[in-house]
Amino acid sequence: MNTQVHHYLIVYDVAARHAEYRTFEDYEQAVAEYTKLEDTTRREPLEREVVLLSADSIETIKRTHSSYFPTDGSFEQLLPPGVLQPR
């Protein structure tokens, strides 16, 4: 089973809760770009996170690294309905 893996260089904007990403087929090239983005600041600002993730599709990344792709949903949704009734 040979799955084609793609590389996604993700730049997550914390305030906007939004991820932009670029897709690479060549891992070395993706790593080089990753390093370049990291080099622009000595220490990363809190407003932004850069990360290099790889999978068969961006859909898989959205499922395994959902914190970079927030929706209106949250883990409370995984409780049976009606369980949470805050005062």
Binding site: E49, L53, H65, E76
Partner: protein, 246 residues
């Protein structure tokens, strides 16, 4: 360009030292620390070491996809396996948190994650890996959850001389971990590392307990539901609001 392990470890320490000094005026390098040339060389050594993990990481992820498929671990017909090459700031921050650790001993520079449909799948895939791979360390956070509530099974495997960390999680365990990370980023507080208000952590712990019960096919007991609601009420003002946080 190549570096010895010692040179890589010294380079990582140098970056950490620079980050821990107060910056000079206008964001310049701290006075009395290393110069720009030295810092750039250190960054190069650290990223070179990280780059050595890409091949082994890809192989481990491909093997994991195979094992997940063999155990019928697809979710909605998909195999949820991904890999990540650790962020440089996180590598250096980890050295700050664990001063005894050297960068070349860090086991999760290359990380692979599988999101699986059930606890039985997590355990079955875990057993399979233990049988067929060179596992150098296992952390069973299902049997022994972290104090934070974190649950998963982690294996550190050696592939082509490099250490790669494999995380196996149920859908609920994965949602929990991602939510803690997302909340922390949103609030600018390292909830994931135990920082922030105790009310928030108490809520995460009870929520993880509830997810564990559901993962084991149990009903939530009235006591657990009561504790969950109490914890949620206390944590709610400190958490980001979403449509599903009533």
């Amino acid at each position: 360009m190549e570096f010895s392990k010692g040179a890589v470890d010294r380079a990582a320490r140098l970056i950490l030292d620079v980050w821990q000094l107060p910056p000079g005026p206008d964001g310049e390098l701290p006075a009395g620390g290393p110069g720009m040339d030295e810092l750039v060389r250190a960054m190069t050594a650290v990223t070179w070491w990280r780059g050595l993990h890409t091949g082994p990481l890809t192989k481990v992820a491909a093997n994991l996809r195979y094992h997940v498929a063999k155990e019928g671990g697809q979710i909605d017909g998909r195999i949820d396996v991904s890999q990540r090459l650790k962020r440089r700031p996180t590598m250096i921050d980890k050295l700050a948190r664990e001063p005894q650790m050297n960068l070349t001993q860090m086991a999760d520079i290359g990380g692979v994650r599988a999101r699986l449909p059930s606890l039985a799948h997590v355990q079955a895939v875990s057993r399979r890996l233990a049988k067929t791979w060179t596992v150098v360390r296992t952390r069973d956070y299902v049997t022994h959850p972290k104090a934070s509530g974190y649950r998963a099974i982690h294996h550190v495997v050696r592939r082509d001389g490099r250490l790669i960390e494999v995380q196996l999680r149920t859908v609920r365990q994965d949602a929990w971990a991602n939510q803690v990370e997302d909340d922390g980023r949103d609030r600018g507080v390292g909830f994931k590392f135990g920082f922030g208000a105790p009310e928030v952590h108490a809520y995460y712990v009870v929520m993880a307990e509830a997810f564990e019960a559901l993962d084991r096919g149990r009903q939530l007991t009235p006591d657990l539901v009561a504790r969950l609601n109490e914890a949620f009420t206390a944590a709610r003002p400190l958490l980001p609001r979403t449509a599903f946080r009533p």
